[in-house]
Subunit: 403 residues, 2 copies
């Protein structure tokens, strides 16, 4: 008998029909003799609707009350799913984050899981109950409700799988697995049977919105056997694991990320500590800086260009002004009309030609590359947003030629 | 400096405008130098909407999951009210039932408060914070969320006032106080400045839906200084307390209750234990039996007639059939077309003519009385539902003649 953690996102439990479908999947897994722990997100648009309500009353509300508010969303969906399983006649209990033992730090709206106290979980599993756990939420040491940030339910599921030494952690989504590119945009996109944690991480940070990044990091750290699969079509998904058998496939996928803005700070003094001054302030504001490019010094000045998420534009401006009070508007340039195209694959480490093949595909498609960033298993380029879809197709066609 | 508990019902926090209005009342009370603990219900129709969702999925869901579901409603409203108070710039914290220390028994959906652990509350009050508490909910000894049943937020407020030895417990409603009759129906209805707990209890059980009965019982037990007032009109309400100064007013009010069905069980054996057999079964089903009338025995049989709430009709039938398996349909008669009219007032104890004055008023209005029940401070009659409003007016006019 195996222990399986199954996670269903908000769209998978959006209404009564969806909830019943999820209950069917859970019931089948249980009927096969498995212990099942289910993690669910808030229904459909519930979280957004709650945030709208909050902003109507006070757009500058505290993060503590924000967490109090939005965590009600998962509370509703766990109760409804438990009721659907009760209807099938199965033993089931729903648990809030804190009831399931999720203990977090106090960084409201971005909390990190510190520990899962397993007592209650084990006691319910001992009674062979299906446990439906509210994703995305926990409790800090002051007994205040915290949330893990958007996509945190994935992290909740992986953390549970790790804590309970589950045999498998299945993440159900609205796609049937991880593809070499967005199948809605690129007709030749191919579903992968397997992918490594590292590849998945790079794909996620490149805008492939299949799995939350922190959940993949955690899965890698605790070696949790992950599977991404569809809650609609009953078919095997993509397994995410440590190492996979070598295939001829050089790269694992092509991803596009539009949630990116290019920021340039010009004519900074060419002296030590300049980059530190800027990026330490961005880090203090919790801003994720992605590609960084620094010009060579010239005439005693240098330029720094970097990319951040769209939502962080104002914070980037504040950080730059705080670091360099003399900065003029002319020296601070922002361009939101950009898109990041990335290819990811452990195979490229040993294939020096990968980057040049990507650049060639873009050149052939007449697309200008604004910035380049590489890691061991990833190559990202920044292009004009209007060229983005063409760029994905061109690169995908180059690496995954259609038969 | 006083400590004041203020309770606002669902309609008082139904939308952003209402929430801001409530925040204004709370802020004024705090600005006067008081400590303020606020209890709120779920917004508007939230609870009903959640129950509809549940019933769509599984009308026979467990009461445990029911409580998990509906308690999300108050969680939303406390967060929103806290945000509105944050906007005014006041120190505030919202607390769920369990965070505020509400410990209850395990009778889900009808739980009783066993104790309030005051530690967290006292610590927040020490920091001069306004505390916004989720009404209606608590936690049982298994760490499962419980709810106190409809109207339970009143009980939460009174329990908090008792536990914290508050100077006053203000229950804000959509009426400006307790009236001698429903002011929407009876033009001559008069607002009472004061009323005793016992009178309030009788009025509530007679259908005057101003205060939840259990909350009044608890206020009486712990001598909590209650005030019923409007969240819309800023004016003094009605004080509910132990004893009030004697006034000429003989009765305190006239109430109508349509949520009543008359049940008759005919031709039962005229022998000991018959009533016990029937009513013990009803008690086991948690059915509140109100007026009971038993005929004198004749021909070896007797009839029992009683009233129950409309929702308990089926349970009454089941109880009767369980007690008397030979019962035929002819011997079980149900009439939902009835209404209970009551007059309440401590003054009537010493005025033997009160009952006859009521009966005379009904006689003059040509209204037939089906059943009569009296207590020390209450007289109730059952009349045809179509006569109910006329009966209230006639009785009110007799006891409160318009000048």
């Amino acid at each position: 008998m195996a222990l399986i953690v199954q996670k269903f996102g908000g769209s998978s439990v959006a209404n009564a029909e969806c909830v019943n479908r999820v209950a069917g999947i859970v019931a089948d897994t249980y009927a096969e003799g498995n212990d099942v722990v289910v993690v669910v997100s808030a229904q459909g648009d519930t979280t957004d609707d709650l945030i709208d309500k909050a902003n109507e009353i006070n757009p500058n509300h505290s993060r503590r009350e924000h967490d109090m508010l939005v965590s009600a969303g998962e509370q509703i969906s766990i109760a409804l799913l438990a009721m659907a399983l009760e209807k099938i006649g199965l033993p089931v209990i729903s648990l809030l984050g804190w009831q399931a033992g999720f203990s977090t730090n106090s960084n409201h709206t971005f909390a990190r899981i510190k520990k899962i106290e397993k007592e209650r979980l084990m006691s319910e599993l001992d009674q062979h109950k299906i446990i439906v756990v509210a994703g995305f939420q926990g409790l800090n040491k002051y007994d205040d409700i915290t949330t893990l940030g958007r996509g945190g339910s994935d992290t909740s599921a992986v953390a549970l799988a790790a804590a309970l030494h589950a045999d498998k952690c299945q993440i159900f989504t609205d796609v049937t697995g991880v593809y070499t590119a967005d199948p809605r945009k690129v007709p030749g996109a191919v579903k992968l049977d397997e992918i490594t944690y590292d590849e998945m991480l790079e794909l996620a940070s490149c805008g492939a919105q299949v799995l939350n990044n922190r959940s993949v990091e955690m899965a890698k750290k605790y070696n949790v056997n992950l599977e991404v699969l569809s809650s609609i079509k009953r078919e095997p998904g993509t397994i995410v694991k440590e190492a996979i058998k070598l295939e001829k496939m050089l790269i694992r996928g092509v991803a596009k990320d539009n949630d990116v803005v290019r920021v340039s700070v010009l004519r900074l003094p060419d002296q030590p500590g300049i980059a530190f001054k800027l990026f330490s302030r961005l880090a203090a504001k919790n801003v994720n800086v992605d590609i960084i490019l620094q010009s060579a010094g010239r005439d005693g000045t240098k330029d720094i260009t970097f990319t951040v998420p769209l939502s962080a534009e104002d914070q980037a401006r504040e950080a730059a002004l705080a670091a360099f009070p003399d900065l003029t508007d002319d020296d601070f340039i922002v361009d939101a009309g950009v898109s990041k195209i990335s290819i990811v694959g452990a195979g490229m480490e040993t294939h020096p030609g990968t980057a040049s093949q990507m650049f060639e595909a873009l050149y052939d498609a007449n697309i200008n590359i604004q910035m380049i960033s590489t890691s061991e298993i990833k190559i990202s380029v920044l292009v004009d947003e209007k060229d983005a879809d063409k760029a994905v197709s061109a690169v995908h066609e180059s690496f995954f030629p259609e038969d």
